[in-house]
Symmetry: C2
Subunit: 112 residues, 2 copies
Amino acid sequence: MTNKPELLPGTLDMLILKTLTRAPLHGYGIALSIKRLSDDVLTVEEGSLYPALQRLLLQGWVKADWKMTETNRRARFYTLTAAGRRQFNIELSRFELMIGAIGRVLRDAQEA
Amino acid sequence: MTNKPELLPGTLDMLILKTLTRAPLHGYGIALSIKRLSDDVLTVEEGSLYPALQRLLLQGWVKADWKMTETNRRARFYTLTAAGRRQFNIELSRFELMIGAIGRVLRDAQEA
DNA sequence: ATCCTACCCATAGATCGTCTATGGTTTGGA
DNA sequence: TCCAAACCATAGACGATCTATGGGTAGGAT
């Protein structure tokens, strides 16, 4: 029933790239990081996350290596590439442009 | 090629409802209003707009009447219903919650 | 007269991104 | 021995937007 999306569509790639600007991380960790930083408002479902990571890999924006985690498990660590960093900046600019524009529409006062 | 969306997906209904909180308006006028207030950043394609208006009608969030415009043309004027006003507030709250959450992820400083 | 542009409505089909649902493995603690 | 948490991944459904079309009318310009 109460079926609200857990994300704003179109922002997932940006959020993942942003997360990876801090340090390489595996999928599960990326999802956790976004969830925690957003105070549980944003939830990245696994069915959204892994396809997104595949897209980013294909585009060459991240690369992946299997390593061991601190909890002693095998996991794919994703690392941002130079192109990925550029892409993040592009998506961030675009997002801010959009948000600003939406804000102007929402705040629009009654004019004469 | 350079194929960027003209909107943030998921925000169109909110923008339409917001536009109608000011006064009843026809489809063409709604699109123009959003475009102008956003300084041409947001462009509502007709193929997005009219299906959206149908959705809003079906949900009972707007109603429509054929009238003459100031430019002497027949047009369907959409009016916000009480339920539509409530829906706008819901969508606005949700949007602001999301934006705040995304902002926290984006602004996140490197912690120890 | 005729043409052109701005004003208006609407739908079908493609596309894209996210969600639901599913299925699997491994570690470590109860 | 069992279970939860930590991990990966895909298929298919779904929803929203875009592209591409197709129409129609008023009014000014040529």
